[in-house]
Symmetry: C2
Subunit: 203 residues, 2 copies
């Protein structure tokens, strides 16, 4: 059975179809911010692996506070990073009263501000809040097969009952990636993406 | 100045560009449901005209209650209709714990259930909750100019910093319509549609 699934997925991927995953709001922390929030000398506790190798959902959770409201129990993703970053949907931004630019993950210069709180302390980040630009993680081998290259922009048609074509989707290529498209909850809800959903890559 | 705006909009529309308006969650009521909620013999109070001729935002507001939570102060749109109908986004449905199909306005048979409450009473509707199918109101004259017909399905590219092509957009033609595309807040937020936004109709 597993072998059949593997073969089907290989055939699907060769056809330029990619699984679309939905990213909920989440926080990445530096080690030093993690220690302010969770205690001196503490380290992140992996709870569940994510689809991208080495990435995990942490057992620790935080509250995030904007001018309009607080959201509690927000996911922290590990491992720790060189910059603290909060990824929100546009509707999260509106609810919190926070301004955030549409950015690629890691590109935090001049991005939005927010307060992050946990059991041992809080930080006010002067930048780091972004709305994540939709993107596809492409393993190097798959990129070669499909003729895709890093930083390329493509369109992707979500195959759902409420179809949209996502334009301006960023291709990211690395040996370490698993082949997945990532959209946020606004993009997903507007296209009724839930459960296992495929998208067709259009050059 | 008004004349210039009129001429620009006429040129824009002739190019197959349509203004995209965002519909927030709202409720349509029958006269009898209105009277249960707001009092025997009461009638709806127009507060502000909407873009479609004869349609208005009512001064009256309601609360809607699903299994998971309540949303207060929800807009009621007038005039009264032959069926009570609640239009929610998919994210509203998730927050409320309500199931609702993607439907055209007015097509409520077998749709979702919810409780609607106001100052004088409450109703539990056995059907009427829908997620509105994206659509374009096209005046008959404009439909002729653009070669569009009632019930046709088209695609529309939202011209924003976060572009998507909405597929399967329903064309509705009537002498009484003003030329406008309607999407809900999930669709709008996923495409960063806010303020004055145009979409390009693609056959």
């Amino acid at each position: 059975m597993e072998e059949i699934v593997r073969q089907v997925m290989a055939a699907v991927e060769k056809s330029g179809l990619v699984e679309i995953e939905v990213s909920a709001r989440h926080v990445h922390l530096t080690q030093s911010d993690f220690e302010i929030i969770f205690g001196k000398g503490k380290t992140m506790t992996p709870k569940r692996d994510l689809s991208q190798p080495g990435q995990y959902l942490a057992a620790e959770r935080v509250d995030i506070i904007g001018p309009k409201r607080k959201m509690t129990n927000v996911a922290v993703l590990g491992p720790v990073r060189k910059d603290t970053q909060v990824e929100l949907s546009r509707s999260d931004c509106i609810a919190l009263g926070v301004k955030a630019p549409l950015r690629e993950s890691g590109d935090v210069a001049g991005s939005g501000q927010i307060r992050i709180e946990g059991p041992c302390g809080a930080i006010d980040i002067p930048q780091g809040v972004i709305v994540a630009h939709k993107h596809i993680h492409v393993p190097t081998e798959m990129a070669e097969k499909l003729g895709l290259h890093d930083k390329q922009r493509v369109s992707v048609e979500a195959i759902t009952e409420r179809p949209v074509v996502f334009k301006d989707v960023i291709i990211r290529v690395s040996d370490n990636f698993r082949f997945r498209m990532h959209v946020d909850f606004d993009e997903a809800n507007g296209a009724d993406i839930s459960g296992f959903t495929l998208g067709k890559i259009i050059r």
